[in-house]
């Protein structure tokens, strides 16, 4: 079955690039431009296999978004990757405290992105 990935980023460029890379690898891609929209998409679409989210976004940032997602039991086991240029330990830790599974550092290398997605949600 095709896996679905929800991508959340306020940058259209980033969303497009993620979508292109992920779709090229056979994933179905959902998009949202901020955390609130991300929650709306989840509410509407239900199951996703992986969530990739930016941290700095208007309306609702990534940290709050992840906390909200994790509060829903349905997404307890959904891997969430944070996507950020801030590769500092503090940001990663903040993301992890909120419930993020891992992180991708922007700008991402498409192969690395896919490798990380595979890592948290491999095909068997």
């Amino acid at each position: 079955m095709t896996k679905r990935i929800l991508t959340v980023d306020d940058s259209k460029t980033m969303l497009d690039m993620l979508a292109f890379t992920l779709k090229g690898a056979g994933y179905e891609v959902l998009q949202a431009e901020n955390g609130q929209e991300g929650l709306d998409v989840l509410a509407k679409e239900g199951h996703v296999d992986v969530i990739i989210s930016d941290i700095n976004m208007p309306v609702m940032g990534g940290i709050t978004f992840i906390k909200n997602v994790r509060q829903n039991a349905a997404y307890n086991a959904t891997p969430i990757l944070i996507l950020t240029t801030e590769s500092s330990a503090a940001k990663k830790q903040e993301g992890r405290e909120a419930g993020a599974t891992g992180w991708i550092v922007k700008p991402f290398d498409p192969q690395k992105l896919l490798a990380v997605v595979q890592k948290v949600s491999p095909d068997f």
Partner: protein, 748 residues
């Protein structure tokens, strides 16, 4: 790579929006009216630009954005004060970011060191705020990104290619040059790790792919089934791994769980421990070391240097979140309006189709008048509904093309700063009504005229600071740029509090240039409007900003092409106001349909003041002025349409026909003599210019409900023609206001 080009295009589009936002935020900072959210927003804009720029390898942009972002970050954390000096640096940085983006877009690199000075200022601020910043030297920075950019390949391999089938052999075969090493790994996941959706099984699979793996599971912490919580971690593992991929490969695998588990990795080969490098295909060996209860145990770690401090497992589940320390926007914030990007051509096609629909509807409406309503009541009411829905549809479609003028206004603050700095004047720009919406085409073409006029206002309108002071004015000049809807059109005003127009000087210059004949009697308004004449400049000295006599007439032409008009009001010593009125849309117009003889014309409803049938005694003939109508003590010039358009059967006597009093943008009124008023109607403007060229007095054409073509009249143009005819001052004619000779072509 095509995709890359496409992403770049998206990126630059996005940058435009972000830069617009940034400018707005910086302006708020400059005015001192801002809060931490303004800083957040500015930070996000720069951050997004940096993110995209990094992906495309725009290193200069990335480097500058990085430093800029660092300072904004410190500012929002109150580590760098947002005082006047620092905000000035922010403003300059905003300008430079804009230039860098433009340079990246045009692939036209800026001269080396262009941004260095400002970048240094930023670096100083960043250091003052306690951030570590590389010394900025323009060319060598950006190393962070090199690795990632090299070999960026957007043609990914399909997922699932690296199936775990090959296992150890395959992985080991990858790099035989590295020595085979043996590791002992003790791994005790915490409940938190599981709550973050990290799955121990996946980690083991990964480990297995790096070499020969033996797994020993420790069940000692596992409680009785009844006491077991499905969401808690009870298991611990010991792995023996023989691999050629080195310690880094193992660290990579555990990267995401570091700090969420007790992890101890021991390199047995390094320690010279008993195990030889050769892989032993023996069954799992029972480990002598007893394993204590799993999750609560303090880690006996051998940590990596940058390991985060929170390595100790926390019993508190992550599912009970604390408040976001980063000060993220409030949860209750209204969801952002979602938007889609649509090709403008598609919208234009839609606009055009709706235009045709309006014509068809008008035709049906006219035909329905001939149907007896008591015989076909449903048909009649259906047609009425159609009329209403057509109108709504039209409004909605027009609204798609409408955009706030903000996008143009946002470019002006920078212009003001630059021009003011060049001419050594202090200027504050105030903008009002930025959210006023107007057709996209109009917005796009508004930039140049506004630039000219603002430049002009600063250079000519405002006095130098000392002169202002001598007059008791504040040193700082004020320019107000405003937009508002007025009567179906948009009114944009540029108002300065400068010296106003020197009418004597203007008139003298006009006479000298032969624009006006000597001794001509001109009203103040007429004199003011002389500045729009081609080749007219009163600046004694030509500066490199304005005063070369090109400009104002270009402004007028641009605005006219949009179906708009320019007007100026000025009070000596108090300032000048330039007003632009523009149609909200270029495609439709509310019109009054009038008949002259056998011909039908459309008058823009916005121009019409009133219509009346005058008494014969109120019509007077004035020498050299033609006929005038006396109404409420005022005299209004009459223009006979049948004469203008040479229609033989038009009514010549106004007291037998009708006079429609219209106002030109200059404020002067004219009475148009017509036979009768047919009705009021929305008309779709079709350009005459496209096929026939501009005709004075005619703004365009339209198709009426009857299917007949009617000309749309241009009131100011008609007045000008009539003046010319009467006074015979042909080449030196001064229109009281600038005629809109043509309306821009309807979207095709």
């Amino acid at each position: 790579m095509d995709e890359l080009q496409q992403f770049k295009q998206t990126f630059f589009q996005e940058c435009e929006e972000l830069l617009g936002d940034l400018e707005g935020n910086l302006m708020s900072m400059e005015s001192g009216d801002f809060d931490v959210e303004t800083l957040h927003a500015a930070f996000r804009a720069i951050h997004s630009i940096k993110g995209g720029a990094g992906a495309f390898g725009f290193e200069r942009l990335v480097n500058f954005a990085h430093t800029f972002e660092t300072v904004l970050d410190l500012m929002r954390e109150d580590k760098v004060p947002a005082d006047e000096d620092n905000v000035a640096v922010m403003l300059r940085s905003g300008d430079i970011i804009t230039d860098l983006v433009r340079a990246a877009q045009s692939e036209d690199d800026l001269e080396p060191g262009y941004e260095t000075e400002t970048a240094k200022e930023l670096a100083v601020l960043a250091q003052a705020g306690g951030a570590e910043v590389d010394d900025f030297s323009g060319d060598d920075a950006g190393d962070d990104f090199d690795d990632e950019i090299d070999g960026l390949d957007f043609n990914p391999v399909p997922a699932g290619d690296d199936d775990s089938g090959g296992g150890a052999d395959e992985a080991q075969g990858a790099d035989l040059s590295k020595p085979m090493e043996s590791f002992k790994i003790r791994f005790v996941p915490t409940t938190e790790m599981l709550q973050r959706a990290n799955e121990p099984l996946l980690l083991m699979r990964e480990l297995k792919q790096t070499g020969n793996l033996r797994v020993n599971c420790d069940l000692k912490a596992l409680p009785q089934l009844g006491e077991m919580d499905a969401n808690s971690a009870y298991l611990a593992w010991e792995f023996d791994l023989d691999t050629r991929q080195g310690r880094e490969a193992i660290d990579d695998i555990f990267e995401f769980v570091e700090g969420d588990c007790d992890l101890k990795i021991t390199n047995l080969s390094e320690e010279g421990a008993a195990v030889e490098a050769s892989a032993e295909p023996e069954p799992v060996v029972e480990e002598p070391t007893p394993v204590p209860t799993a999750p609560k145990e303090k880690p006996t770690e051998e940590p990596k240097a940058e390991k985060p401090p929170a390595a100790a497992p926390k019993p508190k589940p992550a599912a009970a979140p604390k408040e976001d320390a980063g000060g993220a926007p409030a949860k209750k914030a209204a969801p952002a309006a979602s938007a889609i990007r649509v090709d403008v051509d598609k919208v234009d096609k839609l606009v055009n189709m709706v235009g045709e629909l309006v014509i068809t509807q008008a035709m049906l409406d006219m035909q329905s008048g001939m149907i007896p309503s008591d015989e076909y009541p449903e048909l009649i009411s259906g047609l009425e509904e159609l009329a209403q829905h057509t109108r709504e549809l039209q409004d909605s479609v027009m609204a798609i093309r409408a955009q706030p003028v903000k996008s143009v206004f946002a470019r002006m603050p920078r212009l003001v700063r630059e021009v003011a700095a060049k001419v050594n004047k202090k200027v504050t720009l105030k903008t009002v009504g930025e959210n006023t919406e107007i057709d996209k085409t109009v917005i796009e073409q508004l930039g140049d005229p506004l630039t000219h006029m603002i430049r002009n206002a600063i250079d000519h309108g405002l006095e130098p600071p000392d002169e202002r002071e001598a007059q008791g004015k504040p040193k700082e000049g004020i320019i107000v740029l405003s937009a508002e809807h007025r009567g179906g059109r948009i009114l944009i005003e540029i108002k300065d509090d400068g010296r106003g127009i020197n009418r004597e000087k203007v008139l003298a210059k006009a006479i000298e240039r032969g624009v006006v004949s000597e001794g001509a009697q001109l009203s103040d308004e007429e004199i003011d409007n002389l500045v729009f004449q081609p080749g007219f400049s009163t600046a004694d000295e030509v500066t490199d900003l304005s005063g070369r006599g090109v400009g104002m007439d270009v402004v007028v032409r641009n605005i006219q092409n949009l179906g708009g008009r320019v007007n100026i009001r000025s009070t000596p010593g108090e300032g000048s106001t330039f007003s632009l009125t523009l149609p909200l849309t270029l495609a439709v117009l509310d019109g009054m349909v009038v008949r002259v003889g056998t011909e039908t014309y459309v008058l823009p409803l916005a121009n019409i003041i009133e219509s009346l049938r005058p008494l014969a005694q109120d019509i007077h003939s004035v020498m050299g002025e033609g006929d005038v109508l006396k109404i409420r003590g005022e005299y209004i010039q009459l223009v006979y349409l049948h004469r203008h358009f040479r229609i033989p059967d038009g009514i010549a006597n106004p007291s037998k026909g009708l006079v429609v009093i219209v106002e030109t943008e200059g404020g002067s009124m004219v009475g148009l003599v017509v036979d009768e008023i047919v009705g009021q109607q929305q008309v779709v403007i079709k350009s005459l210019e496209e096929n026939f060229g501009a005709i004075q007095g005619v703004a365009g054409a339209t198709i009426l409900g009857t299917g007949k073509v009617a000309l749309i009249l241009d009131v100011a143009g008609l007045k000008a023609m009539s003046d010319k005819e009467r006074k015979g001052r042909s080449p030196k004619e001064i229109p009281a206001s600038v005629p809109a000779a043509a309306i821009a072509s309807s979207p095709q």
